[in-house]
Amino acid sequence: MLTVKNLTMIFGGLTAVNDVSFIVNKNSIFGLIGPNGAGKTTLFNIISGFLEPLKGQIIFKGDDIQNLKPYQLNKKGIARTYQVIKIFKNITILESVMTAMHSRLKSGLLAAITGNNFLEERRATKRALEILEFVGLSHTSDNLAGSLSYGQQRQLEIAGALASEPSLLLLDEPAAGMNTKEKNDLIKLIKKIQDMGVTILIIEHNMRLIMGIADHICVLNEGKKIADGKPKEIQQNEDVIKAYLGGGDINDYNFRS
């Protein structure tokens, strides 16, 4: 589905992503974890086309995509959400989902002026309402997106991402700032999206959440991949424990007697 090969990204003197490679299998939930500053979001920005990597290759559905722009990747089937919510605040919830359908609709200027987009618009509205119901926001579709609560805005972002009918969905810390109930709903939603046949790449700090849903996890630290495997394997990996809890052997310390 998605193959990342020897990806390297350098900002000035900082190597944000250092020779990272991994393979995301079709219809799996692939977790990307690591301490702050490990390069996870940079990796996301590269995969979604906002940054061009210095070195390396990204292959999606058999094509090289590292040179494509975000809107082109969206059309190809990669959708994403953001760590810091970026929704269209001053339009209604329904309109924001319809906006995100852009690459799946065809009507141009002439069709809009002559009203030839009528059928397409009606279908799009119906589809948008279905998606909103799917993520659990259907009652509020006429309200402004900015009026939603924080957790609901996260749901709306996912609805928007789904509107472009992606085959790969990138979720950047979707559970950040959510309460327990919202987190549980989110887990169910992510599972439901997987059941639709979508492949999911997810960055998450919440260990219980990521260990519970991911089929495969890749751990980054200081730009480098330090582990890659099933959640169980990751939990027992010494490098990972070291990266999260700090290194050293307890016997190396001199205790005062």
Binding site: Y71, N90, I91, T99
Partner: protein, 319 residues
């Protein structure tokens, strides 16, 4: 208001506006204000597509207004082409210039874009003032032909009004159609959040240029109409302060709405009539109006008065 009610309301509004000049047919001054308001509404609606919807500022729209006016005036006086066609060509030339400006300029936002558009306006003003062979310089172009259908010439105030009014309705309708389409949603997405628009599949650069083009077409057509009504144009109409007037009209009326430009144009046209007496202090008055609007009516008259507050609160069903 339900959709049917809304339709009746619009119809009634159009009927009243359309009948006003018949009722007040001896009030020449009022009719003059009405047709110039219709022209301004088209121009300001164009600016609204750019600024109100796609979020790109322009303080150089007098140039597009002028390109429309000069193209139509020159082609109809020199080549004798009917004004209906030259008006369209004026709009198209405005689009061409808009695209040329937009290709580099859409990379800029806020004050940088302001500077580029002001610069473009100044270049246009200087050009028409100096290209004497083409534009007759500051003397201006005289005897610009009227609009005609067959042998009927639109040469009275009332006939100006109906031409302008009809074209205005058409352009407002088209604007509404564009805004409610995939393209309009792309414009709004760019205004709201360019990054998110980009990852939502919208080619931000392309749609920014398109917004410039559509906007220029509206303003160019308005300029051409102005030329064929007044029969005389000179560079002094297409100055920086004309761009400011468009901008203030949009802000006062309310950007990003169908009625905003109309309300802004009518308000400012009436106010400006009273301000004529102030002569050189007029720009002081624009400044004061602009300041008042930005501070107390940031959404303009339409946005502050008519938008239902319900939209801002979650309905009870949701919880």
């Amino acid at each position: 208001m339900s959709n049917t009610n809304k339709r009746y309301f619009y119809f009634l509004l159009i009927l009243i506006a359309g009948l006003l000049p018949v009722v007040f047919h001896d009030q020449i001054f009022l009719i003059m204000l009405m047709y110039s308001s219709a022209i301004y509404t088209i121009a300001v609606s164009g600016l609204d597509i750019l600024f109100g919807y796609s979020g790109q500022i322009s303080i150089g729209h007098a140039a597009f207004y002028g390109i429309g006016a000069y193209t139509s005036a020159i082609l109809s006086t020199r080549l004798g082409i009917t004004p209906w066609i030259t008006m369209l060509l004026g709009g198209i030339l405005a689009v061409i210039f808009a695209v040329l400006i937009a290709i580099p300029a859409v990379k800029l936002v806020h004050h940088f874009l302001v500077l580029v558009t002001i610069g473009f306006g100044q270049i246009f003003y200087t050009f028409v003032g100096n290209a004497k062979q083409l534009t007759n310089g500051h003397t201006g172009i005289m005897n610009i032909p009227y609009f005609k259908i067959g042998s009927f010439s639109f040469n009275t105030m009332i006939s100006y009004f109906y031409v302008a009014f009809f074209i205005m309705l058409m352009f407002l309708f088209i604007k509404h159609k564009i805004i409610k389409s995939r393209i309009g949603r792309a414009f709004i997405a760019i205004r709201e959040n360019p990054t998110s628009a980009n990852s939502s599949g919208i080619n931000v650069r392309y749609y920014k240029i398109m917004a410039f083009a559509i906007s220029a077409f509206y303003t160019g057509i308005a300029g051409a109409m102005y030329a064929h009504f007044t029969n005389y144009i000179s560079p002094s109409t297409f100055t920086f302060s004309q761009s400011i007037i468009f901008f203030v009209m949009l802000l006062v009326g309310g950007k990003g709405s169908l009625f905003g430009p109309i309300v802004g144009v009518v308000t400012l046209t009436v106010v400006l009539q009273y301000l004529q007496a102030l002569s050189q202090y007029q720009s002081l008055a624009y400044g004061a109006i602009l300041l008042f609007t930005v501070l107390f009516l940031p959404q303009g008259i339409v946005g502050s008065v008519f938008i239902s507050p319900k939209k801002y609160f979650i309905s009870k069903k949701a919880v």
